[in-house]
């Protein structure tokens, strides 16, 4: 089997299996699965709103998927993308508010830097803890998620809210920090759809992550560490440095969600803006087989499900948008069960001759 087909096989099995299981559930609650799926995918792929919103929703998932991927490639499980993107979003808003009256040429790069550096910083913390003290990154990233959300809510509530505003959000950022919606450039694509330049940035990041991991010496060292830390050490690679580097890059990628959200969409920090992007990013990376191209495909699928789910909720008799959760859950279950399938298939292949 060619390599590409082999790589695609298990994710495809997982997706198809999920739709079958979901279909049975839809039947059980008394709806027609074909109709429900038509509604789900039809609304996610309609022009221009369906496609526009699907791409918009895929943007944060591409960033977080890449973040988790970079961690995985170094043998690290970054469950902290959620916290990293919260810290980054607040930092971005803070820069956008503090330097509100500067011009775009200065303010946008400043905001980009804020998003990237804040995410990298929040990701580096568990990296340093692991490198110096060997404390496990899974525990530390989970705990830092809570700290991030609480910290950012506190600053928003007591220092950066517009007085009297009933919503927990900061004041708006300066208009110089806005990045344009894509509707501005595409004829016939309405500007009201929040799909913005950050989506193109996400695609660019996929290319950059690919080049970084597979074409540079740093990427080689990160992947070597993830593949076999003992051999990496033997080859003169400092495991500790790689852990900190990978966690920082991972955090930076998660932080770039802020560019989409704060600069491209709401133009302020808004409490609870993330629809579990950081956690869905884990699923995206897994389904995308920890490859940037796979991450794009998986992010598009999950975004389409999210967006289509809203219509299923509204327009079908019994099925609710929870079906999307079911589909995602079953996909992950099957992706995780890949080892089992390989084992079942592998028994029929020759072993050590």
């Amino acid at each position: 089997m060619p390599k590409l087909a082999r790589e695609l096989l298990f994710p495809l099995i997982a997706v198809v299996a999920a739709f079958i299981v979901g279909g049975i559930l839809i039947l059980l609650v008394g709806d027609n699965p074909i109709t429900a799926y038509k509604l789900l995918l039809g609304s996610a792929l309609s022009w221009p709103d369906g496609i526009g919103y699907t791409l918009f929703l895929s943007t944060p998932l591409i960033f977080t998927g890449l973040a988790v991927l970079v961690g995985f490639r170094c043998g690290l499980f970054n469950i902290g993308a959620e916290g990293q993107l919260y810290v980054a979003a607040f930092a971005t808003a803070w820069v956008g508010i503090t330097f509100a009256n500067r011009g775009s040429w200065l303010l946008i790069p400043l905001c980009f830097a804020a998003a990237i550096l804040a995410g990298a910083f929040w990701g580096a913390i568990p990296g340093v803890l692991k490198a110096q003290f060997g404390s496990h990154e899974v525990i530390n990233t989970i705990m830092l998620n809570f700290i991030a959300v609480a910290l950012v809510s506190y600053f928003t509530q007591y220092h950066y809210k517009v007085p009297g505003d009933p919503i927990l959000q900061t004041a708006p950022i300066g208009p110089g920090a806005y990045i344009p919606h894509l509707g501005k450039f595409i004829h016939g694509f309405p500007e009201r759809i929040p799909l913005n330049v950050a989506f193109l940035l996400a695609l660019l990041c996929c290319l950059l992550v690919y080049l970084f991991l597979w074409r540079t010496k740093w990427g080689y060292e990160i992947r070597a560490t993830g593949s076999n830390p003992f051999a990496a050490e033997y080859g003169g690679i400092s495991i500790r440095k790689q852990i900190v580097l990978a966690m920082s890059v991972s955090g930076a990628l998660a932080g770039m969600v802020a560019i989409n959200e704060v600069l491209g969409n709401r133009h302020r920090y808004y409490d609870g803006f993330s629809d579990n992007y950081g956690f869905t990013g884990i699923a995206v990376a897994l389904l995308g087989r920890n490859h940037p191209v796979g991450v794009i495909l998986a992010a598009l699928l999950f975004a389409a499900l999210q967006h289509g789910g809203i219509y299923v909720d509204g327009f079908s008799e019994h099925v609710t948008k929870d079906i999307v959760q079911v589909l995602q859950g079953v996909i992950i279950l099957f992706v995780a069960a890949e080892g089992f399938f390989k084992w079942a298939l592998g028994r029929r292949l020759p072993g050590n001759v």
Binding site: K217, Y220, S227, F230, A232, Y234, G236, P350, N352, V353
Partner: protein, 501 residues
């Protein structure tokens, strides 16, 4: 007892067994020898029902039998112990032995009765293990006994052992042979798959030699010798003894002064060791495994935190103690590690990515400071693959896809490519075919003659004695003595290895 007649088995394009005939007489120890990939394991897995043959017959006790699964084999009294043990680490010895053949009814596991039976078996065959001990607490040698008991508990009359000595220390091998002889006395038949000729000669009654899926020789052990068996296995004359000219020794390169190394539990693994290695000589370190060799080599290679070292490691007059592996490599120290899977290779990486490990960050591999130069990577990989005859010669394959011997050749090629001034080598030929062993030995001598200082650790006494110019013996982390390998007897060395002074 067991006869394979005209067994043929094909995996895709590979003819693993080509009309194989093997006759094993009851009450004998029968060795099946051949290089990796010769088809010996395949033939035995067919006999054990793991694979089914494409054609041919299996005859057990004079009756043609259809063995479709290990269950059928066990029912016919055939047991197999695999190279990698199949034990549940957290369960006790008794639980492991009865697993799959539990005594008592479905709801009432009668471990007491099993325990009595196990004790009786271990008595009968002198397989001392405590049935109530969890397997994870056992040494490798003891785990092997559990595997043997597992087969005997299922009333095996014929035991197939796949590379049983690969994981044992020399001392454990001796004990293991005693057990095998005991089994033969008790009327059991044993088939032992191996490629170690000294063991074949020491233990077996008859030998079947395989090469490229075919049986190429059947001999009585008493009528043959190592040279003949090696020739049959490889298909050409093989030099078992290394031919090497007199060493032209230069100035000291590595000087180790009062070096001690502690492990993470603060146990001293290397204890006040001093020696030097001069350019143009091979200094061997002989010893029973686990006497500090691993820690010594890792300390010299820069893989042990400086806090765990005391004493001094000097290289060309520079103290290395605080320097990391990267700096030591830059100074001209290369390292062929004892465990190629754990240390030596990135198994999921391609051969070319493995070929640059250690030099992956500097010119010519990196051009312009950041990006890997694909052409330079490829050039280096093909130089190593061609120069060291790595097969298959496909740089895009993952290292995992190579046989042990070819993986080792890749590592050796990589470490030679940097023209080291000092080479640290550990177990260079472990699990490697005879043909490749000869090649590796010749390469080590060639590197020595080019002026490199070589420190060689090996558990194979034959290997260290024939390659080394000077031989140190290590025992419990201390240098127990130095001998001249040209005149020292194996007994003399063996005594130092086991008793120290």
């Amino acid at each position: 007892m067991l006869e394979l007649r005209q067994i043929t088995k094909r995996f895709g394009d590979v003819l693993a067994n080509d009309h194989v005939d093997i006759v094993v007489k009851p009450g004998t120890i029968h060795a099946i020898v051949g290089e990796n990939g010769a088809g010996k394991s395949t033939a035995m897995r067919i006999a054990y029902g793991f694979y089914t043959a494409d054609s041919g017959e299996i005859i057990v006790d004079g009756q043609p039998r259809d063995i479709k699964s290990p269950h059928d084999a066990i029912a016919l009294g055939i047991g197999m112990v695999h190279q990698h043990f199949m034990l549940v680490e957290t369960m006790t010895v008794a639980e492991n032995i009865v697993l799959g053949a539990e005594p008592g009814s479905s709801f009432d596991l009668d471990l007491k009765r099993a325990g009595a039976q196990i004790r009786q078996l271990s008595e009968e065959f002198k397989l001392a293990v405590n049935p109530n001990e969890p397997v994870e607490h056992l040494s490798v040698g003891q785990q092997q006994r559990v595997e043997l008991l597992k087969a005997l508990y299922r009333h095996a009359r014929l035991l197939i052992l796949d590379e049983p000595t690969a994981v044992l220390t020399p001392l454990e091998v001796e004990e293991f042979f005693v057990i095998l002889r005991r089994m033969r006395e008790q009327g059991k038949t044993v088939i032992i798959i191996t490629h170690k000729l000294s063991e074949v000669l020491a233990i077996s009654d008859e030998v079947t030699v395989m090469r490229d899926g075919k049986v190429v020789g059947r001999v009585q052990t008493k009528d043959t010798n190592a040279a003949e068996l090696a020739r049959l296995m490889v298909g050409r004359e093989v030099l078992l003894r290394v031919e090497k000219p007199e060493a032209k020794v230069g100035r000291p390169q590595l000087e180790v002064r009062n070096l001690s190394v502690t492990d993470i539990n603060s146990q001293k693994r290397v204890n006040d060791v001093s020696f030097e290695v001069r350019s143009g000589e091979i200094v061997g370190i002989a010893g029973v495994e686990g006497n500090g060799q691993t820690e010594l080599i890792e300390a010299l290679a820069g893989l042990v935190e400086p806090e765990r070292l005391s004493g001094e490691i000097n290289f060309e007059g520079r103290t290395l103690n605080a320097l990391g592996a990267r700096v030591r490599r830059e100074l001209g120290i290369a390292h062929i590690p004892e465990d190629r899977h754990r240390r030596g290779l990135l198994l999921d990486f391609s051969l070319s990515e493995n070929a640059i490990l250690g030099v992956h960050y500097r010119p010519p591999i990196v051009a312009g400071g950041i990006f890997l130069d694909e052409k330079a990577v490829h050039r280096r990989a093909s130089e190593i693959i061609q120069g060291f005859d790595v097969r298959p010669p496909n740089a895009a394959l993952p290292a995992r896809a190579l046989s042990g011997g070819n993986q080792q050749k890749l590592i050796i090629g990589r470490e030679y490519h940097v023209n080291p001034k000092l080479l640290l080598v550990s177990q260079p030929t472990r699990g490697v075919d005879i043909g490749a062993i000869e090649f590796i030995h010749r390469q080590l001598v060639a590197l020595r003659d080019a002026g490199c200082a070589i420190l060689l650790v090996s558990a194979e006494l034959e290997e260290v004695t024939s390659l080394s110019d000077r031989l140190l013996i290590i025992h419990e982390g201390r240098i127990a003595g130095e001998v001249d390998p040209k005149v020292a007897t194996l007994e003399e060395i063996g005594l130092l290895m086991t008793r120290g002074h």
